[in-house]
Subunit: 352 residues, 2 copies
Amino acid sequence: MATRKIAILAEGALGWHAAKTAVGVIRYAPDTTVAVIDSTHTGMDVAEALQGPVGEGIPVVRDITEALTYQPDTLLIGIAPRGGALPESWRWQLLAAIEHGLNIVSGLHAFVSDDEELRTAAARKGVTIWDVRRPPARTRVADFTPHREGSHTVLLVGSDCGSGKMSTALDLNAEAQRRGLSSAFIATGQTGMMIANNGLPVDRLIIDFAAGLVEEQVLNFSHAHDWVFVEGQGALNHPGYSPVTLSLLHGSMPDALIFCHKAGQTAIDGYEQCLFPSLNRLIEINEEAVNWLRPERRSKVVGISLITNHLDEPHAREAVEQMMNETGLPVTDPLRFGVAPLMDALERHFAG
Amino acid sequence: MATRKIAILAEGALGWHAAKTAVGVIRYAPDTTVAVIDSTHTGMDVAEALQGPVGEGIPVVRDITEALTYQPDTLLIGIAPRGGALPESWRWQLLAAIEHGLNIVSGLHAFVSDDEELRTAAARKGVTIWDVRRPPARTRVADFTPHREGSHTVLLVGSDCGSGKMSTALDLNAEAQRRGLSSAFIATGQTGMMIANNGLPVDRLIIDFAAGLVEEQVLNFSHAHDWVFVEGQGALNHPGYSPVTLSLLHGSMPDALIFCHKAGQTAIDGYEQCLFPSLNRLIEINEEAVNWLRPERRSKVVGISLITNHLDEPHAREAVEQMMNETGLPVTDPLRFGVAPLMDALERHFAG
């Protein structure tokens, strides 16, 4: 697959958190990001704008006109403003991008391809508009088909949203490929989809078909690859999003799980009354949920990915150590200490 | 609330299974069913057509013209033909119904109110079209608000679809009202909605908002009623529909559960490789799923509703007995032996 040359529209959003999609695409996509549009941070590179270690040498530019001088072939709208609609101040930039033959990838709640003017312009120029959040129209109920013998499906689960499931899955996929293994990543959320250029917006699916559409993806990928890393979403102990998590557990029927957690977190973000059970119990409930359907071949959590970027190095090491003692499992912060210990654990698990 | 006088369109469908909606509405709705349209069974009453104990004295008629002589105020489309669209042979009947001032309640996959001709006709006559399967447009993420102190929310769960969750919830609600309790039923599927004239088509919701929209219903109902019986859907051990079940467990946060099962069934219908765990384990996983969110106040299964209509009387009694021994819980087939033992168990549970 040819890689893209991407300009990312992230107007006013170049702060570390708000720029999650831009950071993800720059860090993980096989494509080249040639420029990031944010008129509030011009005159520096992305790393300077973010005050972080991602995006060195990628210019922050004022608008699409300046971005076009870097010859992108794709404009990726990497933020979703409140209200969800396309800000009118962006319209001319999208039109200019289309006019210059760029494909559009949009994470907006309002679908760009539903906009008459933009759709007409894209059709005239022969460029594509991909609204990442648009759920597939087709329906499919899971039929519990076994995966190809010899393939390994690994699902990322965690104690909450934002616990590192996407990035750990991407890190594991990259590490597996580095080891010469046949490996793929399945995106299940919009940032992952923009990175991988495929996948399903699982949180937008009709609930009856969520597991079935996930299963279909996993069957396709595990047919073609020996290792399949499925991006997780939400958490079984999340009051709002637990059905999304279960649709991934039962749709992907993972052979192994990696559990993700932010060091020190004790309750669901935004729900302080929802205290976590013990980590061992959290691990156990994710294993059990898979095994409700397949008790004879137990699925297990084989390692833990720990977010420690809010801790200094000694405290990060201490947190990793403490988690290893508590769970008896390999633990790492992939961003800080590398993902190899988790890939080692997975290889051991399937060799053993 | 004024009760409706309903004509049910069930063309070609008056067999016991296909007529699930018609049977449910006749048995459970507070409304009067004045006629059932099925041109293949004219000249008898519904009970004769069904060869069952429901619908004695309700005439089966040829078409809407004949149905109108029984002065209905509502036409309820109680079957969903394959393909989902409105059969063209029904169009004139819907138009005739609208022309005579009947409101339309439709369970078709294709929404009647999206049909230009029918919508226009309804607007002109001032009648309503309720497409029961149409999900609400609004979005809501569950916020884990506690229910009113003193209210009792009871969710029906089971080993599979079609295990008696809707009818047992309706029976319990009727029994509670008979006992003078303040009680309500929340419908979560289309037949239940047609019966109760309210509710949510949970299986059609966007997965991110399913628990939140269920929670909203339960908060409203438990504010107004001491007992709230929530219709269940699917099963946690169902490969396709488990997310629907979990959205109900976490959206309703039940204070108690009633478990439903068809005597002798050992695997998910249509998935013979999905063998049930033991019934005690099935009961336990439903309890545990609630308690993931609220470990300090355990939710328990307090009784079992058993379908025995495929057994003769001695075998039915034997099945009930055996299930009581296996689980240590009160067991009844509400249709055959009455629902009182389950309501007794619930009253004891909350008194204790």
